[in-house]
C-alpha cells in the first residue's frame, strides 16, 4: 500500500512528527510551503473495512468534526462542505476524492475556487500486533487572507493541530464505544 504521507526522510517516524514538517513532501495538494500540515495516528479497536466505510460516507464527518455543519454528497467523488462561521459568515467549498482504495485510503482535496484550500488523507492499516486498525490522518490547508481568514481562524481555533487531534479522538470514541462521551450533566 502507498504510504507516502507517513514517513519522514530517512526515518521510520511519520512526517507530521517532523520538527519542521514540509507539506510538499506529504504528496498532498498544497499551495506553498507556508501551508499547515497536521497529522495524527490512533489505533481503533474496530475492523478496517468498517472504519473506511464510515469515513467514506462524508455525511458522517460532522458527527465527529464539530466545526463542520454539513457535508452534502454531490456525486461519487464530489462533496460540498459547509462550516458555520461567526456572524453568519459561512465558509463553503467543494471537495473531490482523488484517491480511493477501499478499506485502505481516502484522499480528497478542495476544488480550485474553494474558500479554504485544503486537502486530507486518511489511511487505514491493520495493526501488525493485533491492536485493531491503525488510522493516520494527514491534513493540509492554506489559511485564507482577510476577513475570511479571521472567520476561519475563529472557527478552527488558534491551534488547528489541537482541533484535528480532538476530531480524530471523537472518531475513535464513536467507532469504539458507539457514542461520543461528554461530561455534560444533561442535554439541556
Amino acid at each position: 500500500m502507498a504510504e507516502r504521507t507517513s514517513r519522514t526522510l530517512g526515518a521510520d517516524a511519520p512526517l507530521s512528527s517532523a520538527k519542521d514538517p514540509n507539506p510538499a513532501a506529504s504528496g498532498l495538494a498544497v499551495e506553498d510551503d507556508d501551508d499547515e500540515l497536521l497529522g495524527r495516528t490512533v489505533s481503533i479497536n474496530r475492523p478496517r473495512q468498517e472504519l473506511y466505510a464510515f469515513w467514506r460516507d462524508f455525511t458522517n464527518l460532522p458527527l465527529f468534526m464539530e466545526n463542520i455543519e454539513a457535508v452534502e454528497i454531490r456525486d461519487e467523488r464530489r462533496a460540498h462542505w459547509t462550516v458555520r462561521g461567526p456572524a453568519n459568515t459561512d465558509l463553503e467549498w467543494d471537495s473531490v476524492v482523488v484517491e480511493d482504495v477501499p478499506g485502505e485510503i481516502i484522499e480528497w482535496r478542495s476544488v480550485e475556487e474553494a474558500d479554504v484550500k485544503n486537502s486530507g488523507r486518511v489511511e487505514f492499516r491493520d495493526s501488525s500486533n493485533g491492536r485493531g486498525t491503525v488510522v493516520t490522518v494527514t491534513l493540509t490547508y492554506d489559511p485564507p487572507a482577510g476577513a475570511l481568514g479571521k472567520a476561519f481562524a475563529k472557527v478552527f481555533r488558534r491551534e488547528p493541530k489541537i482541533q484535528a487531534r480532538q476530531e480524530l479522538k471523537r472518531f475513535k470514541q464513536l467507532m469504539e464505544t458507539g457514542e461520543i462521551p461528554t461530561a455534560e450533566r444533561s442535554l439541556a
Partner: protein, 399 residues
C-alpha cells in the same frame, strides 16, 4: 437536586444544581444512597490538583439505585442497587481490553484531554467528581448522578446487604488491594505501609490476605494506628521514631521486602526536605511534596518492591533516583483499575473475608458535607471516614 460543589480553596458547599439526565445510550442515572469523602477529595479541597472550576460537583465514591437507563437493552435495569467505580471506562478500547481500566482511552471527552497529554505524554482517563484534566464529570456527593458507560462500570450488589459493607468497592478497597497486589508478595515477606488512612488500612488488610508474613504501618495519628493494629499490623509512630532505622531493626537489618506509599502528595513530617518542599509548594515553584515517598525508597530492602497508590499530580523535587537504581527497586503505581478488582472483592465481602465497616467514623447528611470535609481534614485522628447520605436527617422547616 442538592449537591456538594467546589468553590475554590477550602471552600465547598451544598447547593441546588440542575438534575442529571440521560445524554448517551450507555448512560444510567443513579439515585445516591451513600457516598463517601475520599482523601483525594482533600487534595481538591486544598487545591493541590489543577483543573478545577467553581461549581464542580465532587464525589467519586458512591452507590445507589438505578433510576433510568439510556436504552431498552441496557445491561442495568431500573431498581437495581449498584456500586459505581470512580474510574470511568468504556470497556472497548485497547486498555480496557487489557483490564487497565484506569487508562481508558475513550472516557475523557476529547476537548478535556489536551492538558494531560502535555503534562503526562498521553491523555488521562476520566473519573467522577474530579479535575477537568480527568473529564470534569459531575460526581456523586449529590442526590443523583449521571453515569456514562454504565454497562461497564457499576457492579450490582444483593438487595439485602447494607451500603456500608459494599460502598468502598467504588475506590478505596480496590485501591488498597491493588497496592498490595503491586507488592508481588511472597511467603515470608514483610510489607511496610506508609499512611494509616483508608487506603493504607485496606492495604494492610489486603497484604495479609495476599500472604504477607508481617505488615508494619506508619502514621502519626494514634487512633488510626490502633485501627492498623486491630488488623494485625505492627505500628510505627513517625513523630516518635526514626522510621528507616526502626524498619531496619524490626526486620533484622534486611529491610521490608515491599513498601507502600499510601500517603501521596500532601505528606506531613518535619524533616528538612519536607520543609523545603513546603516552601516550594507555597511559592508555586514545585508541586508535589514527596517526603513519604523518599522515605519509602530509602527504607525498602535491596531488590525490593515499591507500590504507590498515593496520589501525585506534578513534578517531584529531590527524587532519590540513585537509591532506586543502585538498590534495584521495582516501582508500581497508578490509579486503580477498579472494574478489574470489584467482582472478586465483592465475593470476599459476601463470604465475610473482608469487612470494611470498621473504618467508618461518621455518617452525615449530604447537607452537612462541608462540615464533613472540614473535620476530615482537620481532625484526622477521629474522622477516619465520612459517609454522606442524602436525606438522612429530614430537614426542619426553615421557620
Amino acid at each position: 437536586m442538592r449537591a456538594l460543589t467546589w468553590q475554590g480553596k477550602q471552600n465547598v458547599r451544598v447547593e441546588t444544581v440542575s438534575d442529571p439526565d440521560i445524554v448517551n445510550p450507555r448512560d444510567a442515572i443513579i439515585r445516591i444512597t451513600s457516598t463517601a469523602i475520599c482523601g483525594s477529595d482533600l487534595h481538591l479541597y486544598d487545591h493541590y490538583i489543577p483543573g478545577m472550576k467553581d461549581g464542580d460537583v465532587l464525589g467519586h465514591e458512591f452507590m445507589g439505585e438505578v433510576v433510568a437507563v439510556g436504552n431498552s437493552r441496557h445491561k442495568l435495569k431500573v431498581g437495581q442497587r449498584v456500586v459505581v467505580p470512580f474510574v470511568i471506562a468504556c470497556g472497548n478500547c485497547f486498555f480496557c481490553r487489557k483490564q487497565q481500566f484506569a487508562a481508558c482511552d475513550n472516557s475523557n471527552p476529547a476537548d478535556k484531554t489536551d492538558a494531560s497529554e502535555i503534562a503526562y505524554g498521553y491523555p488521562m482517563a476520566a473519573a467522577f467528581g474530579y479535575s477537568h484534566l480527568t473529564g470534569g464529570y459531575s460526581g456523586g456527593q449529590a442526590e443523583y448522578v449521571r453515569v456514562p458507560y454504565a454497562d461497564v462500570g457499576p457492579i450490582v450488589v444483593p438487595e439485602d446487604i447494607e451500603d456500608d459493607k459494599v460502598l468502598f468497592l467504588s475506590d478505596i478497597l480496590p485501591t488498597g488491594w491493588m497496592a498490595a497486589v503491586h507488592c508481588d508478595i511472597e511467603p515470608g515477606d514483610v510489607v511496610a505501609v506508609w499512611g494509616a488512612g483508608p487506603v493504607g488500612l485496606f492495604a494492610v488488610q489486603s497484604a495479609f490476605l495476599l500472604g504477607a508474613h508481617r505488615v508494619i504501618c506508619i502514621d502519626h495519628h494514634p487512633h488510626r494506628l490502633e485501627l492498623a493494629r486491630g488488623l494485625g499490623a505492627e505500628v510505627i509512630h513517625f513523630e516518635q521514631v526514626k522510621v528507616r532505622e526502626a524498619l531496619a531493626e524490626m526486620t533484622g537489618g534486611i529491610g521490608p521486602d515491599a513498601c507502600i506509599d499510601a500517603v501521596g502528595l500532601e505528606s506531613h513530617g518535619m524533616a528538612p526536605d519536607n520543609v523545603m518542599d513546603h516552601v516550594l509548594v507555597k511559592t508555586f515553584m514545585a508541586t508535589d511534596r514527596i517526603h513519604a515517598l523518599r522515605q519509602v525508597i530509602l527504607a525498602t530492602r535491596k531488590g525490593g518492591r515499591v507500590s504507590i497508590p498515593g496520589v501525585y499530580g506534578g513534578m517531584a523535587d529531590k527524587f532519590p533516583i540513585g537509591a532506586l537504581m543502585e538498590k534495584g527497586l521495582t516501582i508500581k503505581s497508578g490509579q486503580t483499575h477498579v472494574q478489574k478488582f470489584m467482582p472478586q472483592l465483592l465475593d470476599m465481602i459476601l463470604e465475610g473475608k473482608i469487612d470494611t465497616t470498621f473504618l467508618i467514623s461518621h455518617h452525615l447528611d449530604l447537607e452537612d458535607a462541608a462540615e464533613g470535609y472540614k473535620n476530615f481534614k482537620e481532625k484526622q485522628n477521629e474522622y477516619t471516614k465520612v459517609v454522606l447520605r442524602p436525606g438522612m436527617n429530614p430537614r426542619k422547616p426553615l421557620h
